[in-house]
Symmetry: C2
Subunit: 214 residues, 2 copies
């Protein structure tokens, strides 16, 4: 199977896909899509992803979009080194943790929304970053409460190794640090982030280690 990941080093959703593929040991090629230069809106890229968002994963020439869908496809296609538990209720809990980031934090503070806040409501960069921090702080407080009863070990949120919880958490923590969120209120999240980033497969997926990093 031939995989080509169209994405951007700093895109959190692209980072998620790298984390899952690396963890499963699945090889893939990378084609950078420079979000700052607007490459995601080029006619060529729109044929790959009609939403004009990254990532898009090309699977033997077929295009998959939306990281939550791509991640489920990866988990179904390479079930070894699972990122979801086998117990149905536990699976739902891991997915809920992931969705609390993937639906309720990340999309509200991503590039296109911050651009809209600046363009329509006269916000400067500080204002846009304050918007982003608000949604991260609200979401992280809930995640920290959720993590209090998950019974993870070795720092991880669920179980004794990484799950989709860390796949979604790490990219969000990058944004949190970038936008100046005070992380001291979220010790469980910080511990999980550190535990997961220490894994070589996860380290290799980090934004700063990508070929298009600037």
């Amino acid at each position: 199977m031939s995989l080509v990941l169209h994405g951007y080093f700093r895109s959190g959703t692209t980072y998620r896909v790298r984390l899952a593929l690396n963890w499963k040991g699945v090889p893939y090629d990378v084609v950078p899509v420079n979000l700052v230069e607007g490459a995601q809106s080029s006619p060529d890229y729109l044929t790959k992803n009609p939403q004009g968002l990254v990532p898009a994963l090309e699977v033997d020439g077929q295009l998959l979009t939306q990281s939550p869908a791509i991640l489920e496809w990866i988990e179904e296609t390479w079930p070894k080194r699972p990122l979801l538990p086998s117990d149905p209720i536990e699976r739902a809990r891991v997915r809920a943790f992931a969705a609390a980031i993937g639906c309720d934090i990340h999309p509200i503070q991503n590039l296109r929304v911050m651009k809209k806040v600046r363009a329509d409501y006269g916000q400067d960069q500080d204002g846009a970053w304050a918007w982003a921090r608000h949604w991260m702080e609200t979401g992280f407080a809930a995640l920290e409460r959720m993590a209090a009863s998950t019974g993870g070990k070795n720092g991880f949120i669920f179980g004794d190794g990484p799950t989709m919880a860390e796949v979604y958490l790490l990219p969000q923590m990058v944004n949190a640090r970038r936008f100046g969120v005070d992380l001291s209120a979220y010790p469980r999240l910080v511990a999980a982030d550190e535990a997961a980033r220490a894994l070589p497969e996860f380290e290799a997926a980090a934004p700063e280690n990508q070929p298009d990093a600037v």
Copy 2:
């Protein structure tokens, strides 16, 4: 198995869960959580969902949150009358369509975000609704392009019956009509919405048919 759905008649995410349970023929009790009165932030409800959002699904006393996680759990637990296709690539496409709504439209235009736009940026109701319409129109244009190559029948987006695509679409169409989106540009979405709403199981899940509807 005993199911209690904590939610609100007008909540799109609660509506998704009703659609899936009704389609599968799974009985459940309803406990209304009045979002307008702020019941989602009560100490009692926060023990059910630390995010302070609806829905929460109580399964034999265990609490599940986040509609994307709840919907996957429903599909895994009651595989008959599937809402996801069996082919892995097709599953990913249906999930991508769903996530394009669940991540990139709905959370950006929900109640708490519109409240923030009003409170922080001096927007009135018209301004908040314009914000909501912008994200729906951007998202619907992409969904309409995505739906052009899905090969659905009888009006449905994928296959010849409802999938997770319609489970996510119907609640978003309710919001679109409520906030004044001109739907004439999205004929495939309108057709799928009409086809799915004509199903008795889906009709019974509509907001106006709920016990807490006002």
